[in-house]
C-alpha cells in the first residue's frame, strides 16, 4: 500500500505565514494552510493518502487535499515512505576553474596578535623558523599570476587577493604584481579583480593613493573600539595598535570611495559586545560593512569562546539581523555582512557538498609558490595541492575532494542545516580536531540557530520587500578572511 511521509525539511514562520526549507535541495516554499496542515500531520507519522484525507477532511476540502498532496510530492516535500530518494555522491568535474587566488606575499607580521592562527599557539606552519622565504619574490608572484590566469579556464574574471602575514610589508612586490597581472590579463582578454586584507598599520598616504588608483578592494582586520582592539591586536612590545590604525583607516575611507571597504572582526571570549563593536566601526569609524567571525582556536585557550559565549554571540547577531531587516524593508543600507552573505546563499538555494571553495575555486599560494587549500594552510606540506610552476596536483585535489565530500560526514547526514554549513571550515576543524575532514561539531547548535534566524529574515523580506532579494541576483562574492 502506498504510504506517504515527509522528506527532510525545516519549517519556519515569517511575516505570519509558514514556510519550508527543503533538504537537500535548499528550496524554500511558502505554504498555504492546507499544505502546512499536511506537512505537520505527516510530520507526526507516515500515513496512507486515504488516512490523511480522512484525518484532514473536516478542515479541508478533499479535492484540495489531493491537489496539495500532488504539489508537495512534486517538489519532494513529501514522498512514498518506501522510496527514499537516493542522493548520489557527486564530485565536481575537474579541472574546476580557479575563481580566486589568495597570494600570501609575506608570512611576516608587524603585530603580534595573541590569537593569530599563523603565529599563535595553534599555528600549522613554523613561520618563524621554517624553510619558507619570509617574503614572496617578484618572480614567484609573476609565476603565480600566470598560474592563476591559466587555471581560471574560461572565466572572464580572475580574483586576486593579497594576504599575509601583514600584506603591506611586501608592498613593493604587491605593486609590481598588479602591474604584471594587468598586462598579462589584457593580453589574454581577461580581467583581474584585486583585493587585499591588512591590519591597517601601514596605510600610509602613498599606499592609500595606490589602492585608490588601482581600485583595490580593501578588507581591514580590526576588533572594535580601543579597549577591544588593544586586548589582542598588539605590537611585539605589547602596545595596542588602535591609536596607530584608527586615523589611517579614517584617511583610507575618506579617499577610497569607489569600492566599499569592509571591516573583519575576530570575536573572542573577551570581546563579544557585538552591537557596540558594530556601532563603533560603522558610525564612528565609517566602515561600509562589518563581518564577524569567532576566533579559530583549540578549546582550552583563554580567548576561546565558551558555549555561553556562543549564546551571547547569537544574541548579538540577532539584534543586528533585525536591524538589517528593517533597513532592507525600508530600502536603506545596513552593513552587517554576516546576515547579508547568508541571505545570498539562501536566495540562490545553495546546497553545498563542500563548506567553501577551498581546494576547488579558491586556493592559497605560499611565499615560495606552493599551492595549498586556502590561505590559512599556505605553506603547509600536508595540505599542498601543487605549485604555481607545475600547476595543480590533480591527483591530490581529487583525493581531497573525495575525502571531504559532505557524504563522508556522517555526523551531518541528519542535520537540516547541512546545505548551508556542510560541516564548516576545514581550518577550524584542523585546529579543533586535528583533521580537516571532521565536521565542526562544537558549533552545530549555533549554526542551526543562526540558519533558522536567517531563514526567518529571508521569509520576512520575501513578503515585505522582494525587490531587495532580487538584487542579489546580480551580486558576486565570497570574501576571504
Amino acid at each position: 500500500m502506498s504510504v506517504l511521509a515527509v522528506r527532510e525539511h525545516h519549517r519556519f514562520e515569517a511575516a505570519g505565514r509558514p514556510f519550508v526549507y527543503l533538504v537537500p535541495s535548499a528550496a524554500i516554499f511558502a505554504l498555504d494552510e492546507t499544505a502546512d496542515d499536511i506537512m505537520r500531520t505527516l510530520g507526526n507519522g507516515a500515513r496512507s493518502l486515504a488516512e490523511l484525507v480522512a484525518e484532514l477532511s473536516a478542515r479541508h476540502d478533499a479535492g484540495q487535499l489531493g491537489e496539495t498532496v500532488s504539489e508537495l510530492a512534486r517538489v519532494q516535500a513529501i514522498g512514498e515512505l518506501a522510496a527514499r530518494p537516493a542522493s548520489p555522491k557527486v564530485l565536481p568535474l575537474t579541472p574546476f576553474p580557479l575563481t580566486t587566488m589568495v597570494l600570501n606575499v609575506t608570512n611576516q607580521c608587524n603585530l603580534s596578535c595573541t590569537y593569530c592562527y599563523e603565529y599563535g599557539e595553534d599555528k600549522i606552519v613554523d613561520t618563524e623558523n621554517g624553510r619558507k622565504p619570509k617574503f614572496m619574490s617578484e618572480e614567484t608572484a609573476r609565476e603565480s599570476v600566470d598560474f592563476m590566469l591559466k587555471e581560471s579556464g574560461t572565466n572572464q574574471v580572475a580574483h586576486l587577493t593579497f594576504f599575509g602575514g601583514e600584506t603591506l610589508l611586501n608592498f613593493p612586490v604587491l605593486k609590481k604584481t598588479i602591474a604584471y597581472a594587468k598586462e598579462r590579463a589584457a593580453a589574454l582578454g581577461k580581467d583581474v579583480d584585486f583585493s587585499l586584507t591588512t591590519n591597517a598599520t601601514l596605510l600610509k598616504p602613498d599606499v592609500i593613493e595606490f589602492l585608490v588608483e588601482h581600485q583595490v578592494g580593501v578588507t581591514i582586520s580590526i576588533d572594535g573600539p580601543k579597549e577591544m582592539q588593544d586586548k589582542f591586536r598588539v605590537f611585539q612590545n605589547g602596545t595596542g595598535s588602535y591609536d596607530i590604525v584608527a586615523p589611517r583607516i579614517k584617511q583610507l575611507l575618506k579617499q577610497h570611495r569607489r569600492r566599499p571597504v569592509g571591516a573583519r572582526v575576530t570575536l573572542t571570549s573577551d570581546t563579544l559586545d557585538i552591537t557596540r563593536i558594530f556601532r563603533h566601526l560603522t558610525d564612528e569609524i565609517g566602515f561600509w560593512e562589518v563581518g564577524f567571525a569567532p576566533v579559530t582556536t583549540s578549546p582550552g585557550r583563554a580567548h576561546a569562546i565558551s558555549e555561553q559565549g556562543y549564546d551571547r554571540m547569537l544574541d548579538g547577531f540577532r539584534a543586528l539581523s533585525y536591524e538589517f531587516l528593517e533597513a532592507a524593508v525600508a530600502g536603506r543600507h545596513h552593513g552587517f555582512s554576516n546576515v547579508k552573505e547568508t541571505l545570498q546563499e539562501i536566495h540562490k538555494g545553495m546546497s553545498k557538498a563542500f563548506p567553501c571553495g577551498a581546494g576547488l575555486g579558491l586556493m592559497g599560494v605560499a611565499t615560495d609558490g606552493d599551492v595549498a587549500l586556502c590561505h590559512r594552510f599556505a605553506g603547509s606540506d600536508a595540505h599542498k595541492l601543487g605549485t604555481v610552476r607545475d600547476g595543480i596536483d590533480r591527483v591530490a585535489q581529487q583525493a581531497f575532494l573525495e575525502k571531504h565530500h559532505l557524504d563522508n560526514k556522517t555526523d551531518c547526514s541528519t542535520c537540516w542545516a547541512r546545505p548551508v554549513c556542510s560541516g564548516g571550515c576545514y581550518h577550524e576543524a584542523h585546529t579543533r580536531y586535528g583533521d580537516t575532514a571532521q565536521a565542526n561539531l562544537h558549533y552545530c547548535e549555533w549554526i542551526r540557530a543562526w540558519t533558522h534566524l536567517c531563514l526567518e529574515i529571508y521569509g520576512e523580506l520575501a513578503e515585505r520587500n522582494p525587490a531587495f532579494l532580487a538584487a542579489f541576483d546580480s551580486e558576486p562574492a565570497e570574501p576571504v578572511n
Binding site: A35, T68, Q76, G349, L469
Partner: protein
Amino acid sequence: MNHLKSINRKAARIEEVTAPAEDVVALQRTPLPAGGHIPVGCSLVFSPGWEADRLGGTAGLCQPVERDLFDCHVGCYWPAQVPDQLNHAPDWTSKCAAAQKDWRKIDLIFP
C-alpha cells in the same frame, strides 16, 4: 501551483523543471504552445470538408483525441473505432462524465 509558492531561486527552478508537460492540445489554438505539442487531432487527416468546421468556420475544428473520439463516433460521418456499446461494453464510458476533463478515465476494453 496553488498551495505552494516558490520563494527562492532554487524553488523557482524546481517548479520550472517539474512543470507538467502540455499533453493534449487543441489544434485550433493560436499560437500553438511551444514545447511538447503532439498533433493528434484528426484534422491532420486530409479529407474533404475538414478544413472547416460544420458551421463553415474554423473555431470548432477537431479537438484533441478525446473530443475526436466522441465527435467522430457520435456526431460525424467518420467511423471512429470504439468498443461495441450495444453488446460487449455498454459501460465503457461510464466514468467519463465530461470528456474534456475525464477522458483519461475511459476504460480500455479487451475482447
